[in-house]
Each structure stands twice: as structure tokens, then as C-alpha cells.
């Protein structure tokens, strides 16, 4: 069977799949990185694997999208577009795949339509396969992406987000698929997005069969996670029932919450008489041999808890959220509460909130609500802004049923019916003036931005600007191997670090001494390409001094707020200061919005008065108890 190469028209790709006897494989490197390594697998490692992966003959390599756009800039300091260009140089024969959250793109909230279209256009220059989903399976949330992808001549792969429960019937999914096909036409691949790895092999087999019965000409792409250790079983049933493409990843890096190993899938399906189309098994094996030694550098990003989690069938957290939730629990000191949160509260909240699909950003809403419910002691007592928006229907309608009235009342207040009446429903987000945004960005970074820079800025404004400034100062650091990038404890004196820069030029840095002066100034001596360079660092402000942040208890923070001293209630970032100095405020007015764990939470006024001092500003990182602003009695 001929290999499907990048640049093929969508119809040609789909026709090839329709006539294929065997099945194809997608290497979901992006999902592996996100689910088992907190998205930290570096471009450096992907480039080491690139040649062998290209030889392996996959249907596609999922290497961008999801949370990776954000993490690329925030934690890996690589431009997501540069990443695609560098990989394309080394992988000329493999289609690149992205995961797009529909109207939420690669972020956590809906974007105006013109941003959606602009973003898709820029990424479509590099991305061949567009896997697009909406956490409410609300098709209108995806149509702008569908249209732009088709316009760019790329392959649309709409998703049916999959979950379990009495509402999640074949009839529902077949009807949903019809709704999608009515918009996209039939030259697509249809993805079953099993982001939690839910359901039994039999259930997945039945679903694929139902879809094939109704849409025989549409290739099905099964995507799953191995959280319960049984995804190979689901994959086998999917293929047996007619799925054309399935997802798996390189065994050298497989963990617990991501995709299963490619080779296990291939070996198992062979027993059933299914042949992997275009696959070079030797190249699959060689890829893992080449990158296996790199895994040690990523140990710190692996899950805090090791082992499969068959209880995912109860709590339904998606693979991508497993690692980060465990990390939050570990950092927040509530690991001991996890059984209660995961196995009792989360399923309860899930049911109460309509049994929709637990995937970004819906999974974050479920998770933060469940955590708050357990830790605060009062259920729905401290609702996040995003939960409020969910109930108001800002993301789209509930697919099966609405939450009960008491939840509306808790979240929206006593007059919730009126609030729902006045504010409810999807708002058409007005297009924004891109020229104005471009101007804004140019003034922030001091140069005329490229279209790609503007796209990244529109996705994650603060973090993109920080990244552009970082790049200007430190260059293209993605060339550094993980042994340097993730080094702990500093380098040895005399250690020689060699690497090739972005232009391919070889460099060597020899680490010299780092003496500290009496005044606490540290000088780091490096021999850069045999020339001595000195970097000087001022003494860090001592912990425990006046500047040290006082850690206040939750009760203290609430007491202070009632006295007009508004403090940050948790670790997070200021997204907005909603008031100005001198402004009159009433109890319940929103004075600021903070963001933590991807969720936005309004900070409400606990005392009527006048805003007299504002200590925090947009973008500030806050500790619990850090000052936000002060309200004095209006006398």
C-alpha cells in the first residue's frame, strides 16, 4: 500500500484509507509527553527520534496542539512554529497532526472567530491532520476550525469525545456523527476521542461497529489512553470492527496515562490477522533504542504515583490531566485526600454537572470543583468563574440534562433564575481588531511582530511576550540537550558542554569557578568557545526578611478581606484588576480575577467602601496572603 505523504489532498488521503486492507498507526508523541511527562519532552529529543520515526511510516505524528503550544513557550522555551519547521526538515515524509480544542483552540477559553481562523491558517502551513474536539461535543464550537482547515486543503479529523454512563449510547454518538458530517462533508477521518481510556474493549467495538454501520465510507480513527492498562484491548476491538487508524507511542517512553506501545498493538493485532499499513517495524524498534537513554533526564516530570489506574473508569480524568492533578495534590499537600476526591467526589460532581465529557477545559472544571468541595468542606461554596460560565451555558448547552436547581443557586446566587435569564447562553464573541493587537504586541516587544508571533500572542498573551523577550535574551535554547536544560545542582567546575546552535554551528562552554564576594555577588566564569565570559548575579533577597511573604491561613485571609484588606486566597496569577483606586465598591463586587490550575476565579469584595490602594497588577504571581488591594470605609 502506498504511503500517505504530507501535502496529499484530503480526498486522496481518505480514499487511500477507504481502500486499505490493513490499519494505520498514528504516533501520538504529543499526548505521550502531555500525559506522562507533563508536556516536557524537548524538541531536542524529538529531533533525535525524527529520522527513525520518519522511516517508520506512520499515518501521522501528533506533535503539536493540546497544551503543548502553551508549554512549548512557557517551560520549554521553544517557538511552536520553529519546532514544526525543525521537525519537518528531518521528517519530510510524515504527516504532522495537531489536537485542537475547537473554539478554545490551544487555550482554555473561547476565542473570537477571527482569531480562530487566523490561528488555524498559520498552523495549517505545517499541520496536515487537524483533530478537533469540543468538550461538550457542541458542533457549532468547531465549525470555524473545520472551515479553515478545509480551505487550507488539510485533512479534518473531527472528534466524538467519548465517555461512559447511561446517556452515552450508540444512538447518541451516531446522531452526533451525522451532525458533524452535515458540516464537514464525508472526506474526513472521524476520531473517537477516548481521552480517559474509558469503557471496555467490547464497548468500543460496539461503538465502532455502530458508526461503520451508519457511515461505512468514513474512516474511523480510534484514540485512547492506557490509564487502566487495557487500551490495547480496546484498540484490538476497534480495528476488528473496522477502525482504519489507531493511536500508540514509542515504547521507550510509554508510561501509565498516555498511549500504549506501538509494538504491542502491532504484535497483538497480527494474531488477529490485521496488518499495519506502511509500517517499518525495524524503524519502530530503532526509534526506542535511540531515545531510551534520554528518558532518565525526564524522571522529575513523571507521575508522583506510579502504576496503572483502573479506577479511571470511576473518576474519568483524562490522561493529560492525570499527571498534573497528582502534581497539584502533591504540591498542595492533599495527596491523602486523593482517594476521596477521585473515587467519591469527582464521580458525584460529574453526575451532578450533567455527565458531560471530562476533557479540557471541562475536565479542569470538574476537577477544581471536586477539589474545592472536599477541601473547603462546603460543596459548591466557592465556585470558580469557569464553573459559573459553564452553568450560564457560555461553553455551549449541556448535552444530556441540566444540573439541579440547588447547584445553580449555589453558584449563581439566590436570584439565579434571573441571572440565567439575563446572562445565559453562548455569546457570539465579537471579532477583535488584529491590527490593534499587532500594534500592542509591537510596543510590548519593541519590534514589528511576525504573523506567527501574533498568533502565539493571541493564544497566551502574557506568556508569549515573556517568551519573545526570553528568546531575545537567551537565544534558541531548544538546541540544548536535556542533560543541560534540566540539570539540577549546577555544573561541575571544568565540565565541558558542547552543542550545536540554531545555525548548526558547534560550540563549547567550559564551566569555570563561581566565586562569591563579601557583598554576596556571585560571578559565574564560563569559557565560551575558548573566550572567557563572566556573568554576575546580585545576592538573592534573603528569605525571612521584611520582603518575605507571610503565609496566612484561609480564615485569616477571609477576616482580612472583611476588614477591607484583600489578599490572594491561593497560589495563582492576577488576570485582571477590575477596579481603580478611588472607586466605590459594594459587597460582592468583583475586584480582581485570579487564575490557578488553568481556572479563573473572581475575587469578590467583602466590605463596602472605596478602593484606596492597589498593590498587585495584571500578571503578578501571588502567594496565599499576598496583598491585592485595600478598601477603606467610605466616610
Amino acid at each position: 500500500m502506498a504511503r500517505i505523504i504530507p501535502g496529499s489532498p484530503a480526498k486522496e488521503i481518505v480514499d487511500t484509507l477507504r481502500s486499505a486492507k490493513g490499519y494505520y498507526l498514528t504516533n501520538t508523541a504529543r499526548d505521550l509527553s502531555q500525559s506522562d511527562f507533563k508536556n516536557r519532552l524537548l524538541l531536542h529529543t524529538d529531533l533525535i527520534a525524527a529520522e527513525k520515526r520518519d522511516n517508520a511510516g506512520y499515518f501521522s505524528l501528533e506533535i503539536t496542539g493540546g497544551a503543548s503550544i502553551h508549554v512549548d513557550m512557557l517551560r520549554k522555551q521553544v517557538n511552536p512554529f520553529t519546532k514544526l519547521r525543525k521537525l519537518r526538515e528531518k521528517m519530510p515524509n510524515t504527516m504532522f497532526q495537531t489536537l485542537c480544542r475547537g473554539v478554545n483552540l490551544f487555550g482554555y477559553r473561547p476565542y473570537p472567530k477571527n482569531i480562530v481562523r487566523f490561528t488555524v491558517r498559520e498552523f495549517a502551513k505545517y499541520v496536515d491532520v487537524w483533530r478537533t474536539f469540543d468538550f461538550l461535543n457542541h458542533v457549532p464550537n468547531m465549525t470555524a476550525v473545520f472551515e479553515e482547515v478545509a480551505r487550507a486543503g488539510r485533512l479534518n479529523e473531527p472528534c466524538l469525545c467519548f465517555s461512559t454512563g447511561p446517556e452515552h449510547t450508540n444512538e447518541f454518538y451516531v446522531k452526533k456523527a451525522q451532525e458533524i458530517i452535515d458540516v464537514t462533508g464525508r472526506d474526513i477521518t472521524l476520531c473517537i476521542k477516548n481521552h480517559g481510556g474509558l469503557g471496555s474493549p467490547v464497548r468500543i467495538g460496539e461503538l465502532v461497529d455502530a458508526l461503520k454501520q451508519n457511515f461505512g465510507d468514513i474512516p474511523i480513527h480510534y484514540h485512547g489512553h492506557n490509564t487502566d492498562g487495557n487500551d490495547v484491548g480496546r484498540i484490538v476491538e476497534a480495528v476488528k470492527n473496522g477502525a482504519s487508524i489507531v493511536d500508540a507511542a514509542d515504547s521507550a517512553f510509554t508510561g501509565f496515562y498516555g498511549p500504549p506501545p506501538i509494538l504491542s498493538v502491532v504484535q497483538t493485532l497480527r494474531e488477529y490477522g490485521f496488518h499495519p499499513e506502511g509500517l517499518d517495524e525495524d524503524a519502530v524498534i530503532e526509534t526506542s533504542e535511540i531515545i531510551r537513554d534520554e528518558r532518565v533526564y525526564y524522571e522529575q516530570f513523571e507521575s508522583q504515583i506510579k502504576g496503572f489506574q483502573p479506577t479511571v473508569q470511576i473518576h474519568k480524568l483524562p490522561g493529560g490531566a492525570m499527571g498534573s492533578s497528582l502534581e497539584q495534590a502533591s504540591k498542595g499537600g492533599f495527596l491523602d485526600k486523593m482517594p476521596e476526591i477521585l473515587h467519591k467526589e469527582l464521580p458525584r460532581v460529574q453526575k451532578e454537572l450533567g455527565n458531560y465529557w471530562s476533557v479540557t477545559p471541562g475536565s479542569q472544571i470538574l476537577w477544581t470543583t471536586a477539589v474545592a468541595n472536599v477541601l473547603d468542606g462546603e460543596r459548591y461554596g466557592n465556585p470558580s468563574g469557569d464553573l459559573r460560565n459553564l452553568l450560564l451555558g457560555k461553553y455551549g448547552p449541556f448535552p444530556f440534562y441540566q444540573p439541579e436547581d440547588w447547584i445553580y443557586e449555589k453558584v449563581l446566587g439566590e436570584n439565579w433564575r434571573q441571572v440565567l435569564e439575563e446572562e445565559g447562553g453562548i455569546e457570539e464573541i465579537a471579532d477583535i481588531d488584529l491590527a490593534l493587537e499587532r500594534y500592542e504586541l509591537s510596543s510590548l516587544i519593541g519590534v514589528e511582530p511576525t504573523d506567527e508571533q501574533l498568533v502565539l500572542y493571541l493564544q497566551h498573551p502574557n506568556d508569549a511576550v515573556d517568551f519573545f523577550k526570553f528568546e531575545e535574551k537567551y537565544g534558541q535554547v531548544h538546541v540544548l540537550p536535556p542533560s543541560i536544560f534540566f540539570r539540577k545542582g549546577g555544573f561541575y567546575q571544568g565540565e565541558k558542554l558542547s552543542f550545536r546552535d540554531y545555525h548548526g554551528k558547534e560550540h563549547m562552554i567550559e564551566v569555570g569557578p563561581s566565586p562569591v564576594t563579601n557583598s554576596g555577588e556571585t560571578s559565574v566564569y564560563l569559557m565560551v568557545d575558548h573566550h572567557q565570559t563572566i556573568y554576575t548575579y546580585q545576592k538573592k533577597t534573603a528569605a525571612g526578611g521584611d520582603a518575605a511573604v507571610q503565609v496566612l491561613t484561609k480564615e485569616e485571609i477571609i477576616d482580612l478581606a472583611k476588614a477591607g484588606d484583600v489578599r490572594s486566597p491561593f497560589n495563582g496569577k492576577i488576570v485582571e484588576i477590575s477596579v481603580e483606586e478611588g472607586q466605590e465598591v459594594l459587597v460582592g463586587d468583583r475586584v480582581a480575577i485570579m487564575e490557578a490550575m488553568k481556572m479563573q476565579t473572581p475575587i469578590l469584595c467583602e466590605m463596602a467602601g472605596i478602593v484606596t490602594a492597589i498593590s498587585a497588577k495584571k500578571g503578578d504571581t501571588m502567594h496565599p496572603g499576598a496583598k491585592i488591594l485595600k478598601i477603606d470605609l467610605n466616610e
Partner: protein, 480 residues
């Protein structure tokens, strides 16, 4: 006790002067303001006197400097360039207190510093000057005179208020219509601003070459020239690149200019080292501009092609010694180019980069290379003074060899920390018109692409900074 000379300056020129003083067997006394206490001119001097906190005000304080000279037993003061170098009151104060001022007399400085008096002296000596009118007559007659002048010399012309100055009361006239309209307006304005409505015209020399002649004159009546320099590569009257001799391929013209310079110096009764500046238009007419009564920044190029130490001769002349050579001994040999390496960002309107630490300083060297600088690795550039770090002067037998040497030296010159003008000069050294020796004062404006270069902050140094961060923080602070 050895003869002592006080150096009333800072930076690279202080070092240049100290070297000449010490080579003559004398002792050099440095002065400094506290922001300059890290400056290397203090270290190589035989003694240093702190003038005060400044900034700049103490280098300009005549009383303090004369007191420092008296206290340290200095017989003479060399003012260098800038600061008090062309301040007649300073020369006068030296004369009054019995300290030798190394330079011309206060009277000469005063006369040549005044445009009107200087123009009168040169006019009397028949030195060619930019054509101009006397004060225009009132009314229609004045307009007729003006149009006649324009017809003879062509547009554009400058219409200037006689009592104006400092750039005020000047307008550029491009046509007859313009002239008729502007004269009454200019008069009205001048009357209101200076209480004098007289105006006159001067021809505008469009895109001239800036050529100057180095003069040495002793107190025994000997006045010599050391050939020409071309300082056309300027931005807003700030010289960037200077060469010697001028690249004009017309020996007779250059000889005439040099002889005219000597005549001009004699007309002014000039003493000591000076520079006579000329503008040369595209038809090779030359016009006297002014005489600078100091040692110039770019004196190095003349020293390289003549082998004559100008500062040493300045001191000898000031001490009443005759010049030890004649005009026939002055031979021009080869070519020299000087570039002023400044801590500035050419891409950002030459914004100074003061306050930054020089983290790497690797200078160049070898045959035909001269460096006049004062910074070193670890030096923090004070924000309160000018941004000149080092002058790189190269000398070669042919122009081609000299440009090649300049390129080589710039490529091997590394200064990290502040941005510098080095990459900008690298572009000039590779630019075709410069390589062909073909440039005038419009050079920077007509060659905008010389501003296009990659910042010196190379990938390697950026990545090294990142490695240093990881090393210092004991983990990658961005990847947490």
C-alpha cells in the same frame, strides 16, 4: 624634581597625553571626578588628583584644575579635546597664574571661536569662504540683491538673521518664489526675536566633503602642515570614521588646500597645533569653515601617515622650543583610517550604552594597528560621560591594504556587555563606495543598509548566558 604636566581631561585622550608626557621624560598628573575612579588613565599617570564628584562640572571647573596644577607642582596643563580645550577663559587663567597652557594663546582661541571675527580675518587674507552677501538692503532693493545672488550661485541658499545664532533665525530657500515670500517674514521674525531685522544670504554647499588640514606652528614663525584628513563620514556633525590623507585624486587641489591652510593659520597668528577645516563641493571648490584650536580626536591618522607625534610637538612648542623639522621633512606615507568605537547602539539612533559592564574585552593588534583606549574587562562604563571606548587606527601602504587591515581588526575585536559601533563599522568597511574611497557627508544617509547587521550578541553568548543562569540557580529556573 622632574617637570610635571597636568592632564586636564579623561578617557582615551588623557592616556594619549600621558604617554607623550612620559616619553618626553616628564611626569604626568591626572585629574578625575569620582565617577571616573575606575578609569585606567588614573593608573598610568604618575600622580592623580580627585577634583570632586562632578559629573563633568569638575572637569569644567577652571579654578579647581588650576589649583590642582599648582598643588601638584605642574609647570603646564594640556587640555586635550572637549571640556576646557577651547575655552579662552581657561587659557587666560593659566596665563594669569603662570602655568603654561599647551595650545594657542587665549586671544587666538577667542578670535577663532567667534565666527564673525574669524570670517573677517580670513576674508582679509583672501581665504576662500562660502559665498555670501553683506546685509541685504531694505525693501525691493534687498529682494533684487537676493535674487541676483541666487542667480549667480544657484539654489539652495541660506537666509540668515545677522543677529541670530545657535541655529535660530536660519531658513533654507529653494526658489525665487520662496525668496520673495520669505525675506519679509524672516525680517519680521528677526526683528521680534533679536530686535534687529537685518538678514543676509549664504550659499548652501550640498553634500560636501569634509577635508581638514593639520597645522603645527612654533613661536619662531615656522608654520607647517601635516597633510589632509577626510572626516566626511559623520552623523549629525559627529564624526565616525576619519581617514588620512583625503582620497581626492587631485594632487594640485590638495596642495592648494594645504597651502591655503598654512596661510589661514598665519593670518590668525596661529601658535601650536591646530586644524583648518574646509568644505569641498562636487565641483571641487573649497571653502574655509573654521580653525579648531585643539588636538583633534582624529589626530592619530595624521600621526600614522607622517610619523610625527603631534602631542609631543604641542608640548615642545608650548615650552618655547622650535619645530625640529621643516615642511620638506613632512612626507605622507600610505593611508590611515580611524574608527571611533563607541558604546552606542547604531540601530537605536546611536543610543549610548552607558552603565553597562564590559564583560569581555579582546582587542586586536599586529602590523599597522594602533589603539587609543581606556576600557578593560570588568570596567563599568560611566553613564555621565561620552561613549567613546577606544579608537582603532590602522595604517597601510595602499588604501586597499588599509581597508583590509581595518576589516581584519574589526573582526578580531570583541567587546561584550554594551552594544558597540563595531558591527556598524564592519558594514562600512565592506561597503563598495567606502572601499572605493568615494564618500561625502551624505554617506550615512545614502547608505542605510550599513545599519543592517546581526547583533554581536551571538547565539553562543546568548546560550552561555542561559547556561550561567542554570548553573547559578542550580536548576533551570524557566523549566520548573
Amino acid at each position: 624634581m622632574k617637570t610635571r604636566i597636568l592632564v586636564a581631561n579623561r578617557g582615551e585622550i588623557a592616556i594619549r597625553l600621558i604617554r607623550a608626557i612620559q616619553e618626553l621624560g616628564y611626569e604626568a598628573i591626572a585629574v578625575y571626578e569620582t565617577p571616573d575612579e575606575m578609569s585606567s588613565h588614573i593608573r598610568i599617570a604618575d600622580e592623580a588628583v580627585c577634583l570632586g564628584p562632578g559629573p563633568r562640572s569638575d572637569y569644567l571647573n577652571i579654578d579647581k584644575i588650576i589649583r590642582a596644577a599648582k598643588k601638584s607642582g605642574a609647570a603646564a596643563i594640556h587640555p586635550g579635546y572637549g571640556f576646557l580645550a577651547e575655552n579662552p577663559y581657561f587659557a587666560k587663567a593659566c596665563e594669569a597664574s603662570g602655568v603654561i597652557f599647551i595650545g594657542p594663546s587665549s586671544e587666538i582661541i577667542s578670535n577663532l571661536g567667534n565666527k564673525v571675527i574669524a570670517r573677517k580675518i580670513m576674508g582679509d587674507a583672501k581665504i576662500p569662504m562660502v559665498p555670501g552677501t553683506a546685509n541685504l538692503s531694505q525693501g525691493k532693493e534687498g529682494i533684487r540683491e537676493a535674487l541676483g545672488f541666487a542667480e549667480k550661485y544657484g539654489y539652495p541658499v541660506m537666509l540668515k538673521a545677522t543677529s541670530g545664532g545657535g541655529g535660530r533665525g536660519i531658513r533654507r530657500i529653494e526658489s525665487d518664489k520662496d525668496m520673495v515670500e520669505q525675506i519679509p517674514v524672516a525680517r519680521a521674525e528677526a526683528l521680534a526675536a533679536f530686535n534687529d531685522d537685518s538678514v543676509y544670504l549664504e550659499k548652501v554647499v550640498v553634500n560636501p566633503k569634509h577635508v581638514e588640514v593639520q597645522i603645527l606652528a612654533d613661536s619662531f614663525g615656522k608654520t607647517l602642515h601635516l597633510g589632509t584628513r577626510d572626516c566626511s563620514i559623520q552623523r549629525r556633525n559627529q564624526k565616525l570614521v576619519e581617514i588620512a590623507p583625503s582620497m581626492i585624486q587631485n594632487k594640485e587641489l590638495l596642495d592648494n588646500i594645504c597651502e591655503t591652510a598654512v596661510l589661514a593659520a598665519k593670518a590668525a597668528n596661529y601658535l601650536n597645533a591646530g586644524t583648518v577645516e574646509f568644505l569641498i563641493d562636487s565641483d571641487m571648490n573649497y571653502y574655509f569653515m573654521e580653525i579648531n584650536t585643539r588636538v583633534q580626536v582624529e589626530h592619530t591618522v595624521t600621526e600614522m601617515i607622517t610619523g610625527i607625534d603631534i602631542v609631543r610637538n604641542q608640548i615642545n612648542i608650548a615650552f618655547g622650543k622650535p619645530l625640529s623639522f621643516g615642511q620638506e621633512d613632512v612626507n605622507i606615507r600610505g593611508h590611515a583610517i580611524e574608527v571611533r568605537i563607541n558604546a552606542e547602539d547604531p540601530k537605536n539612533n546611536f543610543m549610548p550604552e552607558g552603565g553597562k559592564k564590559v564583560s569581555v574585552y579582546r582587542s586586536t593588534g599586529g602590523f599597522g594597528v594602533r589603539l587609543d583606549g581606556f576600557v578593560y574587562q570588568g570596567y563599568i562604563i560611566p553613564e555621565v560621560y561620552d561613549s567613546l571606548l577606544v579608537k582603532l587606527t590602522v595604517h597601510g601602504f595602499t588604501w586597499e591594504e588599509t581597508v583590509g587591515r581595518l576589516r581584519r581588526c574589526l573582526a578580531n575585536f570583541t567587546i561584550s556587555g554594551p552594544k558597540t559601533t563595531i558591527p556598524f563599522y564592519q558594514n562600512i568597511a565592506n561597503e563598495r563606495d567606502f572601499v572605493n574611497g568615494d564618500f561625502d557627508t551624505s554617506y550615512i544617509d545614502t547608505h542605510p543598509y550599513i545599519f543592517h547587521y546581526e547583533e554581536d550578541s551571538s547565539e553562543a553568548s546568548k546560550l552561555a548566558r542561559f547556561v550561567a543562569e542554570i548553573h547559578y540557580a542550580k536548576e533551570n529556573p524557566f523549566a520548573k
